[in-house]
Amino acid sequence: MNILTYLIPISLLLGGAGLAFFIYTLKTNQYDDPEGDARRILSDEYDDKPKKD
């Protein structure tokens, strides 16, 4: 059962990393226009900047 001393912190860390990444995407306005972003990949014009705040 000693393996738990590694696994539990690792699982918490991974979960925390996922959460931190999600918060980053939220803070950079990446959920403001989901529909538009889905369509923009079809456009030929290169355009990778998210909307400015």
Partner: protein
């Protein structure tokens, strides 16, 4: 639509125009980039995005333009001299309808703060519940003794701060309900979450077998998901409808020492002399002291024909001056104007409106007390039976968790999100939370005529009967005026490929028409009485050449796109369609016949419309009112549910539950269908949730529910309900 006849004066009694006007004056002083926002109801694809962005970027002075397809709007950063009107014109050239959004109110919702906050809480709850679930699965799989206790303690360490953070919306809402001694859906939710955490902590400290940390977190997660969906559909739609800017800022030109000076309309006083230019709107009630013109009163009365106005005649705030500049002396300002009295009618109608109980509220009313009683009874029963406080509390918590309205919390928002999304793509904003439910019940549809069924612009109908010379002459004369009839002639004749005849000395006689000389003969185009023709029948303008008999150009109201389809589809769906208008009997009859509407009411005053609708409501009929003018606002409020087009006056849009973003009326019929289907799904969802409770509650009361059963039941019912919502047709 011409800018001269677009609605604009704010008639909402609650909004004070003064701060807005003041802010505008202050802003215009600064020379920095302006941020503009446009609503684009017709965009729908990748092609639209790039076309709109490219076109906007070509407008001189535009720095950056970005389209948001989800909200169907564009934000533009531009140099201060760029106006929204020029951008709208540029987009109309390439075939996209655009409306200006009020940048002032926009900044508050630009990045939807409340939504982002909910999403953050949702994310935290989601990640925490995944981690705790991981630990719980190990416990269910057989972890025992010290390992189980360790897992429970770690779960507690994750769950407590998460619930303290993520559960706040529920805590706040439950507290505000309890403060006024009422029960809402959030009270049992909070009780369940708190009780689950408290008993689990107690169990954990005693090395007990069952802890409900995962259930408490899953509950928070699912309910927040419902809350977020709800927010997206409602709050965003509501703010978007409110942001549709007043198309005109309330300012007026006051004559001071012989010179006109621009002042905020709020500063006008009785006795002030105000200059109203052609195309301008009367800011106050008053009397004309100089000048002749014609007035468009359609927004106030529904009359489609402009009326003649001259010195000594009274004018009402909200009327649009069409042809000549006039000076008016104010007789009533601010709250005392007829515009405001009209708004008061709305307040009266509002108080008479029966309060509709939404399906969710009806369910909560049954549900909240039932759950509390059930869990209290099981607590008491087990306490008496076993005499053990710990067992009794555990079972009471299990009952609350099992019955907790996960599925109920998702049942309504999941469906309304799907339905509102579908309707939004068709160009409809659902402003009011229960609008869909009410729309589903509608059996009678009342349309206003001017500005709703018609586009508010006249259309020349008898061009074929004209000689080519007459048409060419009329075109030459019509181009000398901005009157709606002149513009209609010019447009139709130009479209027929006729070029204007050459005329000299062309000038407009305000209030009457235009005149000029053609080959040495005087020619006139204008009112029947002015050119010496007989009485008018319907809408017409007369052309007179020298001493010849005048010829009449006849007009009909141009139907709004999709009006015929909407009326036909509503009739096919078995709904009764009625036309109510303030316009003359002949115009209303023509329109009713053209659209195949059997029942109509002409020359209706605003009060008449509302009274008629109230009477129908008292007869048990569910009325959908579609209208745009000030004269419709009381009727819109009195109706069971109401729709107004984006071009409607502010007051009408505020009074209505649904706003049509585009100029097309055909989505109205689709909306009725989608609403009926949505309500069916909501009721199915309630049934699913009930069935699940019927199975799970006896288990919980009998003390057989384990955290594993609770987790399975909760997740499966929530997922079933969400999947069912996706089956929505329309």
């Amino acid at each position: 639509m011409g800018s001269a006849i677009t609605p604009g004066v704010s008639a909402c009694p609650a909004c004070d125009a003064a701060p807005a006007a003041k802010a505008l004056v202050e802003n215009s002083g600064k020379l920095e980039d302006s941020k503009l926002a446009l609503s684009l109801p017709t965009i729908h694809c990748a092609g639209c995005i790039s076309a709109v962005e490219r076109r906007l970027a070509q407008v001189p002075g535009v720095r950056e333009a970005r389209v948001n397809l989800t909200l169907k709007r564009a934000t533009i950063e531009a140099e201060p001299e760029v106006t929204a009107a020029s951008l709208m014109e540029a987009l109309e050239e390439i075939g996209y309808e655009a409306h200006e959004l009020d940048a002032g109110t926009l900044s508050a919702t630009q990045t939807d703060r409340a939504g982002r906050e909910l999403l953050m809480r949702l994310a935290v709850a989601g990640f925490a519940s995944m981690n705790v679930m991981l630990l719980s699965v190990s416990v269910w799989a057989g972890a025992a003794d010290a390992t189980r206790d360790l897992f429970h303690w770690i779960s507690a360490a994750i769950a407590l701060p998460t619930i303290a953070f993520s559960g706040q919306p529920f805590f706040r809402s439950a507290w505000s309900a309890l403060k006024v001694k009422r029960l809402n859906m959030d009270v049992p939710i909070v009780l369940a979450i708190v009780l689950a955490v408290v008993t689990s902590l107690w169990e954990t400290s005693l090395s007990g077998k069952h802890a409900y940390f995962d259930a408490a977190l899953a509950l928070t997660f699912f309910l927040l998901a419902g809350r977020y969906l709800d927010h997206r559909t409602r709050a965003i739609a509501r703010s978007a409808a409110e942001e549709l800017a007043a198309l005109e800022v309330p300012r007026a030109w006051r004559i001071e020492e012989g010179e006109p000076r621009e002042v905020p309309a709020a500063e006008l006083r009785i006795g002030d002399v105000i200059l109203v230019r052609p195309g301008g709107r009367m800011p106050v009630d008053g009397e004309i002291i100089q000048g002749r013109s014609e007035l468009d009163r359609s927004l106030l009365t529904g009359e489609s024909l402009p009326v003649f106005a001259q010195e000594g005649q009274g004018v009402s705030a909200g009327e649009v001056n069409l042809t000549g500049p006039v000076q008016i002396r104010a007789t009533a300002v601010g709250e005392d104007t007829s515009l405001h009295r009209m708004a008061d009618l709305v307040a009266i109608a509002e108080s008479g409106r029966s309060r509709y109980t939404s399906l969710a509220d009806a369910a909560a009313k049954l549900y909240a007390p039932g759950v509390h009683i059930l869990s209290a009874l099981s607590f008491l029963g087990w306490l008496l039976y076993s005499g053990d406080m710990r067992t009794a509390l555990n079972i009471a918590a299990a009952v609350l968790i099992i019955t907790c309205p996960c599925a109920l919390g998702l049942a309504v928002p999941a469906v309304t999100t799907a339905a509102s999304g579908k309707l939004f793509r068709k160009g409809m904003l659902i402003k009011h939370a229960t609008a869909l439910e009410r729309l589903a019940e509608v059996d009678t549809v009342v349309f206003d005529k001017t500005g709703t069924l018609t586009a508010g612009t006249p259309e020349l109908v008898n061009l074929d009967a004209m000689s080519r010379e007459d048409a060419a002459l009329a075109l030459a004369l019509a181009e000398g005026s901005a009157h709606p009839l002149s513009r209609a002639i010019a447009q139709a004749v130009r479209a027929a490929g006729i070029t204007p005849a050459s005329v000299d000395d062309l000038h407009e006689v305000p209030g009457f028409g235009t005149e000029a000389r053609h080959e040495g003969v005087q020619v006139q185009l204008g009112r029947a009485a002015w050119v010496g023709a007989g009485a008018d029948e319907g809408t017409s303008a007369w052309l007179k050449r020298g001493d010849a008999m005048p010829v009449a150009f006849r007009f009909a109201d141009r139907l709004r796109d999709g009006a015929e389809e909407a009326v036909l589809a509503l009739k096919d769906a078995g709904k009764e369609v009625i036309l109510m208008s303030g316009d003359s009997a002949s115009a209303v009859r023509d329109m009713a016949e053209r659209l195949g509407i059997g029942e109509y009411l002409a020359e209706a005053l605003p009060g008449d419309k509302a009274a008629r609708i109230t009477r129908m409501r008292d007869d048990g009929r569910k009325v959908l009112m579609v209208g745009d003018g000030l004269n419709d606002t009381a009727a819109l409020t009195a109706a069971h549910v109401s729709i107004s087009p984006a071009s409607a006056l502010d007051a009408a849009r505020v009074a209505s539950d649904i706003v049509l973003l585009g100029g097309d009326l055909s989505p109205i019929a689709d909306a009725a269908e989608t609403a009926a289907s949505a309500v069916k799904r909501i009721k199915e969802n309630f049934r699913i949730a009930t069935v699940y409770n019927i199975i799970a509650v006896p288990l919980a009361v009998a003390g057989l529910a384990t955290p594993l059963i609770a987790a399975l039941a909760m997740s499966s019912s929530s997922i079933t309900v969400s999947l069912n919502a996706l089956r929505l047709k329309g």
